[in-house]
Amino acid sequence: MQSVVPLELDTCLSLCSTLEALLLDSIGPNGLYTMITTSDDSTLISGDGYTIVTSLMLSHPVARLIVDHMKSHHGKTGDNAKSFILQLTEILRHVSLKEGGSVTCGKRQQLTELSHGLAELHSVLEDKLVPELLKYCVFTTVSEQNRGSVEELCLKIIRTNLAGKFNPRSSKHVSEVLCKFILESCSELSQLDKTLLYLLDHFEEMVIEVTNESVLSSRIINGAILTRDFAYKSSNLVSFPQIKFMVLNTSFETITPNSASSLQISSTNQLLQALNFKTTYTQTFIEQVKAQGINLIVSAEALSEAALYICRKQDISVIHMVPAEQIAHIAHIAQIRTFNGPDDVIDESTIGTAEFCHSVLIGNSKYVNLGISTKQLILCSPTKGLCRQWYTAVHNAMKCILMWLNHEQIIDLQKLAKSHEQGTDLHESHSTTCSLDQKGDQSTELPDESCSKDKTGSRPPSEMMHNRDEMPDTNSQHLHGISIQGGGAVEFLTSKILSDISLSPSTSSALSKTSKLVAESILCLPRSLYANSFISKTAKNSFIHVQNRIESELSTHGRLKGIDGKSGRVCNLVELDVVEPILAKYLLICDVVKTAQELLRIDAVIGVKGSLKDIRDEETDND
C-alpha cells in the first residue's frame, strides 16, 4: 500500500508558503506585478492574485485543494484571492509554531484539538464577530431618493476592488464607466441586486472587448451592439423614427424536409419549376415580411445571395450571421420571440421596435448598434491579454457590488446585534458616533432617519440609539448596502474581537487557543499592506508601532482606523474612499477558518485507481 502517504502539517505549510511568496509583493495599491510566461512564449503581466495562482501548474493534491477552496471563495466574492492564501498560510504557520516545528504522531492529536477549536470558532464567528463588525459599518439605503450617495459608494467599492491591479488612471476611468453602467442599467434602484444578477448572468452579451484602443476610451453605448455589419443597409433606415425588426433563429430558406429526399425531374417544364421554386418561396416570404412593415431582419444564419437580393429590392435591411447568444439576448430585451423557420407565422409577438439602428465603428470593426432598451459596455485595451484581464476584473467588481447588497446572511443577525447592544450601552454610544461620523464624512445619508446632519456636531447618544434602532425595520422593505472601510481596518477589528473571545473566561480551552491564533495571524494582511507602502521602515515606524497605535485608538476611543496602502499612514480609510463590502470580509474569515480546519483534519493522502468522477457518476446511475 505505498499509495497511502501520511500528510504532515509541514507539507501543507510549505505548499502554502510557496503560494504566499508569489503573492506577498502584490498586496495593496502599491503592489508589484507578476509576469507569467507560458511554454508557447505568451506572457501575461498581472497583479491579480486569482490570475496568478490559477495560472500555476500545481502537482501536489493538497495545493490543488487549497487553490480550489480559494477559487470557490473568489467565485462568490470576486475578490480576496490574495488575502485568502495569505491568511491561510499565516494560520498554518502559527499552528506549526505552536506545535514547535515538525509534527510527529503524538502531536497529531493536538492538531485534532486545534481543528476542533477552529470548527468551534467558526460557529462563534456568526454570533460574536458580526454584531461587532456591524457597529462600524455604513448602512446605505439603496433607493431612488438616495441615488447620489449610492452612486458615490458604488464607485468607491469598485475603485477599491480594482486598486493595485492596473494603473491608477485607467482604473479610475473604468470604475467610473462601470459604476455608471451598472446604475444606468438599473431602472429602479431598489431592484439593483436583481439587475446585477441579470448583468452577471448575461455578462458575455453585455460587455464587448475591443483591442487596439486605449483603456481610457472604454465607454457605454446605448442600445445593443451586434458584432456583425449590415449585409444590406437600406439608405432610408435612419429616417424611420421607429424601426420594426424581427429576429430569425433559423434560416427561412430551409424548406427541404428533414428526411432524405430527392427531386426527380422528367421534363423541361419541371426543371424550370424546380429552379424557380426556391426563389419564389423566398420572395413570397419576404413580401410577407414587408407587408408587416418590417424594415430590418436580424438572422442567426447566413442569408443566401438570392435572398439578400430580394431583400434589397424590398428595401429591407439585413444583418446576418449574428451569434445565437446575441439573438436570444435581443429577443429577450425586446420582449419578442424569435422566428423559427418556415412553419412559424409572423405576428405581433415576433416584431420588435427599435429607436435607431446604425453602424458604429468600434476598434477596427464595424458593428451595428440597435436601439433597444439596454446598455452595452465597451471595454477597450491595447492588447488582447490585457483586455481579458479587464474583462475578468470588471466581472469581479460586479460581484463585489453584489456582495455589498447581498447580506441576507448578516441581516438576520442584525436583530441579534441589537440585543447585544442593549447590554453594552457605553461602548455602543462610542461606536455609533463613529459610524455616524463616517456617514457624515462621505455624506451617505440615510434619507428617512437622518434628516439633518452636520459634520462636526455630534448629537446626544439617545437620539443615535433611536437612529440605529430604526434601521433593521427599514431593512425589511428597502434594499440596503453594508460596507466597511478597507486598508486592514477590518483585520484589526477582527483581531481585537477574537483576542477578547480568547481572554473571556467562558470560552473553552480549544476555542481560546484557536481564537488567539487566528487573531494573531489575521494581522498578516495589514502587515504586508504596510510593508508594501512607501513609508520608510525605520525602527520608529515599524509595524508594531502602527499596530499599537491602531489598537489603542480602537480600545480607548472606539475609533476604527486602517493603514493607507500607498503612504503607510494610519488614518480613517473612509476619508480616502477605500471601502469594501462587509459580507466579503466576513466570508473571507469564515472560509479561511474552514479551509484551515479541513486541512488539519486530513491525516493521509491516498492514491486511488480510476477517476473519482466516473465512480461518482456510476453511483448515481445505479440507484
Binding site: 421554386f277 491525516d603 493521509a604 473519482l612
Partner: protein, 549 residues
Amino acid sequence: MNTQQALTISGERTTGDTVRTQNVMAAASIANIVKSSLGPVGLDKMLVDDVGDVTVTNDGATILKLLEVEHPAAKVLVELADLQDQEVGDGTTSVVIIAAELLKNADELVKQKIHPTTIISGYRLACKEACKYIQEQMTISTEELGRDCIINAAKTSMSSKLIGRDSDFFANMVVDAAQAVKTTDSKGVTKYPIKAINILKAHGRSALESVLVQGYALNCTVASQAMPKRIQNAKIACLDFSLQKAKMHLGIHVIVEDPTKLDAIRQRESDITKERIQKILDTGVNVILTTGGIDDLCLKYFVEAGAMGVRRCKKQDLKRIAKATGAQVLVTLANLEGEETFEASMVGQAEEVVQERISDDELLLIKGPKVRSAASLILRGANDFQCDEMERSVHDSLCVVKRVLESRTVVPGGGTVEAALSIYLENLATSLSSREQLAIAEFANSLLIIPKTLAVNAAKDSIDLVAKLRAYHNTSQVQAEHADLKWCGLDLIEGVVRDNKAAGVFEPGICKIKCLKFATEAAITILRIDDMIKLAAAEKPDGHPGHGH
C-alpha cells in the same frame, strides 16, 4: 503426453502458516488506513485519483471502495465494507476494524498450536451469543424514547463527519425527510424507501441553509423565458422522446417529382410534432418533462398554451417523478393499435410546480405530488468538496434513520455494546470446558478494539478509559443492583465514561448485529484459507475446439 505437466501448477503456491500470516497482515493494513477515521474525533482522508481529482472524506465505505487493493484477503475486507454499506449504510469503518482484529487474534492462537477449525467454531459460537445478548439485553425500543432517539441516532452517525457541527439541524432534516417518504404496503408493513429522497447539491451559502423540500427537486429549468415559472394544480406529462420535427429513419429516401411536394413533406413533418403536442395539451397537461430536446417551434406551442416545457431531464429523475405523481413515462405515443394517443391516465398530478433560484442555479420544484409523497434535500456548502462530503454523510444518516424506523430499536453507541459484550463473552468463555473457550475469549478481547480506537483517535488515554469502562460493565453484569451501569460508554470530547443512554448516543441495533455477523464471517473466510495458489495468466488456447465463439 507429459505426465509431469498435469501435476504441476502453473503459478505460485503458498501454504500453511505463511499464507495465514500474510492474509492477516493484509487485513491489518487495510484496517490501519481507516482506523483513524473512526469516531466523533476521527480524521479525514484525502483521495487523489489518476487525473488528480481530489476528494476529502471520512466515510469508510468510500475510502475502501476507491482503494487500489490487490491482495485477495484485503479484497475480502473491502467487499465486507461494501456489503455493510449496502445492507446498513453505516458502521463500515468499525466492521473492517473488528474483522482485522479478529484475524489478528486468531493468528496468535494458531501460533499457539490451536487448530483454525476450533477457532472458527469458537468465533461462530461467540458471534451467535453476542447477537443474542445484544437483542436481549442491549436494545432499547424507540417507543420508549420517542422521536428524540431517532434524531439522536442520526446525530451519532454524522458526529464524525463534516456536518457534525450542525448535527442538530441536519438530524432533524434527515428524520423529516425519511418520514416524508414513508409508505405502508397492503400487509401493513411500513417502509422508508430512502432512495426516493432526491439529494441535490448547490454551492454557495452556509451548510445551515440547506433545505428540505416536500416534493421533488429537479436540476433543470424551463426551456423558454416566456414560460410561466409557477403552475398551481400541475398536470405533468413525462416523455422519453424528443419533441422535434419528425424525421424519417436513416435509409428511407423520398423521391418527389413536383417541387411543391417538397414543401408539403416539410409541412407534414412539422405537423406531426404539432399534432403530438396538441394531443398532449388536449388532456389538460400544463407541465411537460422530457428527456430529449424540444425545438424552438414546439416551444412556441407550449408558450402559447401557457404550459411549462422542460427538456433534457435525467431519465432517473423522470422515473421517480412519474412514480410520485402517478404519471407514466412514455417512450412513444403509439398505442397497440398503432395510432398515436395520449390519455388522461398517463398524466401525473402535483399541487404546484415552481421554478426557484437557489444559489447560482435555478431549480424546478415539484411540490405536493399526488400519488406518493417525495422529499428532496437541497444541500448547501461552501464548495463542491464540501457538498459531496455532505451528501455522503447525509446518505449514511438516512440509512441509519431508515434502519431505526424499520427495526424500532436502538443500542447505545460510544463503545458501550462492545464493552458489555466483551465482559459477557469472557464470562461465557470461562463457563465452557472445551477448546472453544480460548477462541471466545479472544473474540471478547477483539471487540475492545472499538472503544480503544475511539479513545486513541480522541487523543485520550485509551488504556485507562477502556479499563474503567470494563469495570463498570463488569459491575453491571455481576451485581444486579447496578444493572443500570450497562449503558455506560465513552464520552470522547471530555474523555470520561458516562451513561450513553442518557447522553443520547444511539445506533440502530441492526447495525451492530450485522456488523458483528459480517466481521465474523469475513474473518472466518480468511481464516479457513491455508493454501493460496496464484495462477499464472492463462495461456491463450489456440485452435482449441469449443472456443470457436
